[in-house]
Symmetry: C2
Subunit: 304 residues, 2 copies
């Protein structure tokens, strides 16, 4: 329940900032401590395998970052960088080997895959207990049924921020804007399990602004930059912005913006995540969390 208050032009107090960067740093530090204790107990270091196929520059940055953070948290990081010409059979063969490799506790295949490779088949080739992205059928089913499992990193990160900054969400009305398998749908499941009344809006929704005005919590994951405007948010609501886009400024510079028009929304909101420094850092921290939890499940035989 901390974070600096923003001032705003209308003289009201304005939103407190949700400090995802700081929270993620503390979470990563805690994980590093737990990794060390895990090693002391078992003489095993959790290991994450990251598989990148092709040369998408954004994906290269993401996987490098994931590998670096994994290493910094004291875990082993294995990078498998394959050419765009890799066949489905070769990729499935690699996953089959990683599935049975005792040094590997988490497997992540960076999406999107080059054309010709089936992301559903590839994702579901990972054994559920090493599926640290939580995108396979078994972990999605566990989440849908309220059973323990591995939850996708970005919605898990949003949930941890909400639990910390909002606390008990029972009975609050949450609006999730965006219905992707990666963020919106698992986010809706998590909020339902927290006791929220949950509405999911998407591209076909008629009046998303009107729905947003009724919500206590708004989570936005659309990829449409600055979609959510100031008059969408009711005073005191909590706003979680999952979007991140780079926009060009005059003079050749660039700036990162989210799916929320921050300057308009912040004066009304009670709590808001900035972009950058909000949800983004939580995604990698939750990947580390999932990898450590996967190692525990595999090594200590706990329920997945």
């Amino acid at each position: 329940m901390t974070g600096p208050a923003l001032s705003d032009a209308h003289g009201s107090s304005g939103a407190r900032l949700i400090d995802g960067k700081g929270f993620a740093a503390r979470l990563t530090q805690d994980i590093a401590t737990e990794v060390s204790a895990f090693y002391d107990r078992h003489r095993i270091t959790p290991g994450l395998a990251v598989v990148l196929v092709g040369n998408d520059p954004a994906s290269e940055v993401y996987v490098r970052n994931k590998a670096l953070q994994t290493h910094r948290a004291g875990m082993r990081s294995f990078m498998h960088m394959l050419p765009a010409t890799t066949s489905q059979e070769e990729l499935l063969g690699l996953i089959a080997r990683l599935n049975v490799d005792p040094e590997i506790h988490g497997i992540l295949v960076q999406l999107p895959l080059p054309g010709g490779l089936d992301p559903v088949a590839v994702t579901n080739a990972i054994v559920p207990e090493k599926d640290v992205d939580g995108l396979g059928v078994v972990n999605a089913g566990r989440l849908a049924l309220g059973l323990p499992g591995i939850v996708p990193c970005t919605p898990l990160g949003c949930l941890l921020l909400l639990r910390h900054y909002v606390g008990d969400m029972r009975g609050q009305h949450a609006l999730v804007i965006g219905a992707s398998n990666l963020v919106g749908r698992p986010m809706a499941q998590l909020l339902l399990q927290e006791g929220c009344t949950v509405t999911v809006a998407h591209i076909d929704t008629r009046d998303t602004a009107a729905l947003a005005r009724q919500a206590d919590i708004v989570v936005v994951a659309t990829g449409v930059r600055e979609l959510v405007r100031g008059d969408w948010i009711r005073p005191g609501a909590t706003v979680i912005d999952v979007g991140i886009s780079r926009v060009s400024l005059p003079g050749g510079r660039t700036r990162l913006v989210g799916d929320v028009k921050f300057d308009e929304v912040a004066p009304h909101a009670g709590l808001i995540t900035p972009v950058p420094g909000g949800v983004g850092p939580m995604t990698i921290a939750c990947l580390l969390r999932n990898t450590l939890d996967a190692a525990r499940t595999i090594v200590e035989g706990r329920a997945p």
Copy 2:
């Protein structure tokens, strides 16, 4: 888009009745025809195994009905009625045999199970391609991810009625009241896939009536009899009542009522399911549909 119009005391036109009983009868007839064609192609008759543990009288009625309808649709029906003293090990042993039995294409374990038996472990012991109740982790995950799979019978029945009577639901706001794994949650997933904006309300929701007043489609599955009142429903909305409770009348007679106060709601609604004769008959018809589809998947090797 058929069904008789109800008259009402206020002189407005009133809702058209959704004839679940008639729709289910036609669906069952179509399935019988397909079962016959399937036999002609493969010389295989789809078979459903229904497992009942203990002597719950309501469950006995349900499984007898399921077996009878299965038989009437030209499929084989196998009943396994076990004493309440059955151990988890014995039950899992039976499921393991049914899983590999080539005469069995669908396996249904009637819930609730007697105390001491773990319904999650038992449900998930059924191989996904024979899980005709669609309640296992794999089928729940497929539904959550929008992949083909076996959908739980009651929400599937509601969906078929909605598709027939409403048609294209894209952009409509659907409210699901009740968040159970059996009905509410899978129903929400199905409506989302139809392009609805979906809200899920439940026991912790603050003002379900206000949410209902905004909805184009209301699906109620709470088990709270006559929860939904006349002033909850906006004119012309579609109301699907999954509930069914038996209430006592003076003189020792009884009557079946749903989760919707029918006499109040029908004058406002555009379309409404009666109780009985609405969703109820669709559940068994969809079980037959799922069993035939499971047989096709297993025998013809189609995607599950």
